[in-house]
Symmetry: D3
Subunit: 254 residues, 6 copies
């Protein structure tokens, strides 16, 4: 039994609230326990220079935390004048995950900006970001389709992410901040609705681990992702290869 009463393979209460922002093409408030993230997708014409003229689109993700998202106040990166390494690492991961989800060759020369802003941080902010951002991204794509800007909804599959780690001798799913701080090994997995792996990051800061431990963690993660995908799935209906919004404002896993 974990401090918060969960079993080792149990996710925290998960909640996704759709259309959280009024203006964004897609947006959600996603909660993994006390971790709360706003994911907003903005669509702009044009692509970065390295893609110009290739007729395909692009997805860029940015990640930030409110200064008082956590237990102590952090200095704003705008005040520091530079974006830190951790932020870079996370937003690059979110971007890769989203680019797995969408067929960029079918969205024209458009950029999807995925902004993940952490209101409250209690571990797993990057996995919550990816899981929520997928719903916002799909909503934005559907909006473009509904407005006739796209003639299909080129979403390749659901994409969700979860953390897993070794705390003491136990392999635990979806670590909160306290568990994460004392974990010997920390792993994030991004995978699709069909159970294909998009990304694995496993690291044992000052510790090491075996392939057996890795496999155990991996299995737990895939189980969690399966549930997260089910939650995502409740927002959509797919007919004839086209994605549609179900009339659902929020969904929970408890």
């Amino acid at each position: 039994m974990r401090k918060d009463g969960r079993k080792p393979n149990e996710l925290r209460p998960i909640k996704i609230e759709r259309d959280y922002l009024k203006y964004a093409e897609g947006s959600v408030l996603v909660e993994f326990g006390n971790t709360k993230v706003i994911c907003a997708v903005s669509v702009q014409d044009g692509v970065p220079p390295f893609l110009k003229g290739k007729g395909q689109g692009w997805i860029t993700a940015e990640y930030s935390m409110l200064p008082r998202a956590g237990q102590t106040r952090n200095i704003r990166e705008s005040v520091a004048g530079r974006i830190g390494g951790r932020t870079h690492e996370i937003q690059r991961m979110i971007g890769r995950a989203m680019r797995t989800a969408l067929d960029l060759t079918k969205v024209g020369e458009r950029t999807f900006w995925v902004d993940c802003d952490v209101l409250q941080a209690d571990g797993g902010t990057r996995t919550a970001s990816i899981t929520g951002a997928f719903v916002a991204l799909a909503d934005a794509v559907i909006k473009l389709y509904n407005e006739g800007i796209l003639n299909s909804t080129p979403i390749k599959d659901f994409v969700a992410a979860v953390s897993v780690g070794i705390v003491g001798d136990e392999v635990l799913l979806d670590l909160n901040f306290e568990e994460d701080s004392s974990a010997k090994v920390d792993m994030n997995v991004v995978a699709t609705g069909q159970g294909m792996i998009s990304e694995i990051q496993a690291m044992g800061e000052e510790n090491t681990f075996t392939k057996e431990q890795f496999d155990k963690m991996f299995a737990l993660a895939m189980g969690g992702i399966k549930q997260l995908v089910e939650l995502q799935r409740s927002f959509f209906e797919i007919k004839g290869g086209i994605w549609f919004r179900k009339d659902i404002k929020q969904a929970r896993l408890e």
Copy 2:
């Protein structure tokens, strides 16, 4: 009648949700119509160098907007690498307003960080920030008192703010974004529970105005602030000069 059905002297629906963040010493989500701002107050030991050793406290405010708070996406100031002039102007105004509210000589060498982060922007973000931040600040002070860190709650008075402007020929209270964009004159007033003025900023970007127009705008603003203070007041009980939290989670003006 205004486009959104309000009378000239009518505020938008106002809502303050208390304890919006789990970790901050005080926090609210404040809404002025579609404008939504998280105000979080963090208390840290120590003061800026220019106050060291003087035995008094300090309040610093920071203001930011999520990139997709508005109708189009804005580049993050952390990415730009610098804080813009408008941000500086607003956060300095919030800081002054909060320093009006608190007797800094009675809080010890402590800094209150007031973070106002705009989730959604539809005009009046700075006045919503000030109005919400006061509640978060008072909650933080009460928390310090309850924990025995302070032996009083040295809040001098309520402080709230509202915008007013001249649109066409009419003087309107609490402008939304559309009204603000077409206003000839734009004015922000910060005042206290007892009707004392803390700050006035009135400007006619490319236009000018008379003292009579100023007086009319001022009167409207003071009427709006009075209502905002009543809303703030519903969160607190003051007995023997000490402020206490009433057991209220949120309050609305509609």
Copy 3:
């Protein structure tokens, strides 16, 4: 009687020296007592992106202080690598004041850069900047007219500014640094030759004030601005709606 012998409603000795710089389209050295500011106006073809193709002009102001303008040396903002909040606040105010003075729809797609550089600072640098910059701006406009680049001199009116404040119990005009430092309330007013208000900024850092006090300060400010406009007026002759330079190198108010 004030420390420097002035009456409450008395300006400091004011001096404007025209054509202070050789190359700028318009330039003055303006002095409000010991406060000395160089105001230089540079005209460039083109406007910022948000105005491109609209056929109108723009005015941008920048403000800076020499490191040893004041009683102690300040670090240069170029060395700090960023422009501070106070600088932003002031240069935005100067820009707004100048945009009140000029009909931007009649100057073509041109940008007027207004550079206010404080050589010496003894209070009132922003009001001296505005008062001096107007003369430099009008000179630049007249130069464009004389060169046949403009076919009118679309100056709408004189614009000048002055500070006023409450020190002890007295309302004083045109505060010097010492007075400003001990003022309970500090107010800056920008107004036109015809007595129309362009901007009011009144603030009581840690103090508050009443409408009656405001009105008293306002009246004093308008009296000061009237004198400053007379000084500005001595540089120009207006015939048939066209502004001309009078052959005057400098003017004083004493």
Copy 4:
């Protein structure tokens, strides 16, 4: 057969040249085929603020590429004024790997700066950096021991890294730039001399992969790391738990 004649499970020619720099406490030039990296370890007294007073040491890694390391010239990050996301990602990975290698509780309040500067880039710069940096780090530790500054050589184990990927349908070890550019899946593994995993990063930018593919890649990587550790081992002799330098200037794997 690969374009450069290697078998799928074959490393490129590897070379480590010891003491490449005269002043650093430890330094190597490491080559993985055409990829060439200088790894320099500098020892400084003191630790970052978050560790002060805890009696332990720290390792920080920095990574950079010469502007003309690759096929086209890149702008220097010093000129850009900021460190990019890829650089942050890589140097954080090198730092974690090195912190796995050393028992930081036994080196006193000292910081080991690990600088990896890529002279020439042909794929695998981060894995070459880690593999080379370990030798430089161990040399620095031995130097401190020889000078009596440390009374042991608290190196926990060898640490090396290699890349592996799926190109076309084949799983290949130690990708060069051309292979890396066309890889569907890209994976980096960091492991120890005893075959313990320190870190895994596997990602399928726009592609996905199965657990079976992962396992195949992993096995190939561990085979490569085993050889790299053998190469590292040739520089050292371990007697009674203490590491000593063998009198070897360079070693190769061909």
Copy 5:
């Protein structure tokens, strides 16, 4: 005969106005023809870290140009967010020249900030800066002596600087902007009252020159410096090794 009527070996009209700023420990406005520079010296307790505890002082120079000092407007370095190469080069040269003038071992752990701000630029801004800054520095030292902070005036000698160049086939002294722009070779010399050389910078951007040409330029420069030193000398009286201010407000060379 030169365009402005000077002979090849003739300086422009030179003017130094003392005590140009009210607050600085020493300050002048120096003019070399149309080039005008404010030189201000500020004295602060303390020295940079690399000198701490050595009991000696330091001199740091900073150089800047007002945006409209020249024929076209330049972007401010504070807006650019970084100091350019030319600025660095010039301010380092001014610093070295000033450190030649003062015996830093006899001023205690104090820093002399030498700020050279160019109001108007018509060639020779660095040489005017050095020539003017010396007078401001000596005034600051005398002020410290008069206040009993120093018990001597440890000025080693006068220091002045002048430019010289080859334009067409002629060697010219003290180039103005137009001459400088067409010079084949450009040289700056810093020397002392006793004719000792402090610094020479001679460069032939895309051209080269002979030792004979160098010697001719050098001789011309030394002649100019001799006159500049005489001008500087008129401000001071040296008795018993101690420097005193003569009661002179300004001096000219015409």
Copy 6:
């Protein structure tokens, strides 16, 4: 006799290794004793804005040191977020020297980037950079000629540089770090194969020197440059005004 056994007029062992980098259009590793610099020349289409449309080329040099090039570790300029004054000074000098060597009117609108990265620093890094960069630049020009991009090799002359200084009472050639640190006067000379001067920088940080001392230093420097040019010459063959590569991989002066 000097500490390292050299005579006053003796260069350190000099070595130039050609084609040190695989991708650059020209590159060398140049060594002046323990000072080691990689010089890489990259050719890009296009020129800076101020040259656009003039039909000529440009050369820009950048200089940097690895953090552990010297006896203690220096912070990276990319981490500091800005390029220091010394770096600016040196890279501007390298750029001027290279622009002396090439007839920019005959290379089309192309930019030659000259990157000098110091691997190890023991005095004379700027003179080693210039001496090595010339060979890399000439190789790049020859490459463009061989590829038919240029129809001549518009190299005007060899360009090399050396330092000289006064240590104690002696004039010494090619100072190493230790000598440089104790030098009273420090001078760098850049000159051509035909003995024409390109640049002289002589400075006596806190010391001064006479014309006689200057002449003595100058003569020594020109003797050193003559030898350096001979070394450079061994890499090339000039026939009919066209430069060709000799089949030489490295050359030494010992």
